[in-house]
Subunit: 204 residues, 2 copies
């Protein structure tokens, strides 16, 4: 097996181990056991566990997108679109809460590791960009425009989704989440105004 393939295999096995037992439990032995290889193979592919963790987190930052939102169905008013989008996001959290816990653990781990401290910022910027695009698409589709700069709206939406994620991990309360999403949808809809389309120039 080529070294690059082995590295990928190890990183994916490590992610599965982390999902099960956390970053703390992801020892080199646990990882190679999950991957079905020997301990020496790990160190043939990576010089150290630290090096593997760096590659793992870099991979997550690159590949982790806001896929949850991409299931949005348009065709309604902006309030409904936002509310449906939040619900779709929430269902992905419910379906795989362990994955959200992993992302949080990796973020906190990165913040404690000097070589990785900038990655959470990069990931946050990635998310903001993704959410900005979605808000743009939603605005065009609903025939509205945002009364604030779109990146500010995106930052607010991202704050809400992060808060929803933390709350779900702590309390697993669907009703509370629904309430928060209702209020958030109202809040975002209040930041939208209809675009006045002049079919004919009635001035003159």
């Amino acid at each position: 097996m080529s070294s690059v393939d082995r590295r990928i295999e190890i990183v994916q096995a490590a992610l599965r181990v982390i999902s099960e037992v956390g970053v703390q439990g992801a020892t080199t032995r646990a990882i190679v056991s999950e991957a079905g290889m020997s301990l020496a193979s790990f160190h043939y592919a990576f010089a150290s566990r630290d090096e593997m963790m760096e590659e793992l987190i870099a991979w997550v930052v690159e590949n982790q997108t806001v896929a949850a939102f991409s299931t949005i169905r348009y065709g309604s008013d902006i309030r409904t679109t936002v509310r449906d989008g939040l619900q779709a996001f929430f269902e992905t959290i419910v379906a795989d809460a362990a994955h959200e816990q992993v992302l949080l653990e990796l973020m906190l781990f990165s913040l404690r590791t000097p070589a990785l401290q900038k990655l959470p910022h990069a990931q946050w910027a990635n998310y903001t960009l993704g959410v900005t695009e979605l808000l743009n698409a939603a605005a065009v589709n609903a025939g509205i425009e945002w009364v604030r700069p779109i990146d500010e709206v995106a930052q607010f939406l991202l704050t809400v989704t992060d808060g929803l994620t933390l709350a779900w991990l702590a309390n697993r309360d669907r009703a509370a989440a629904a309430t928060v999403m209702d209020i958030a949808a109202d809040s975002l809809a209040a930041l939208a105004v209809p675009i006045i389309t002049r079919t004919k120039d009635r001035s003159a």
Copy 2:
């Protein structure tokens, strides 16, 4: 030294160590070094490190309050009161980001420890109660009432503050935080309506 005093001393030392090097780095040796005692003294007070971690997290859940909000100054309209409260909360985050990281690490640690899994829920409930009281006080002082059940308003506010915390840890962006707080204050103000006080009964 009495056993109970020693336990408190150890827990406080452990919290300082966790703040510096994380939950992963809070070994018994690091903790007793911080506390200036021998390793045996640790095990005289606690049967195991796990037992100490349980007491530590229970202590945090009991003693961690939303003190940040208690610096609110009333006397303005509800939008200003909320915005000022958010700012006060945010300043405590900025002043001690490491503390927020510790709280998050302990939450994730608890979720991975069967004996501690219910504590994050309890802490979340505590926060909700505290925020509810503050929203009540703010409403009375500003002469408004909330158009939704107050615990729902509290859940939304808590979601925003959690999201603000995560964002600050990731990006350290004051401007972004200010924007989110502006929008959040608008959103909450939209959930308030003035109380109609009838000084005299003008019907009849």
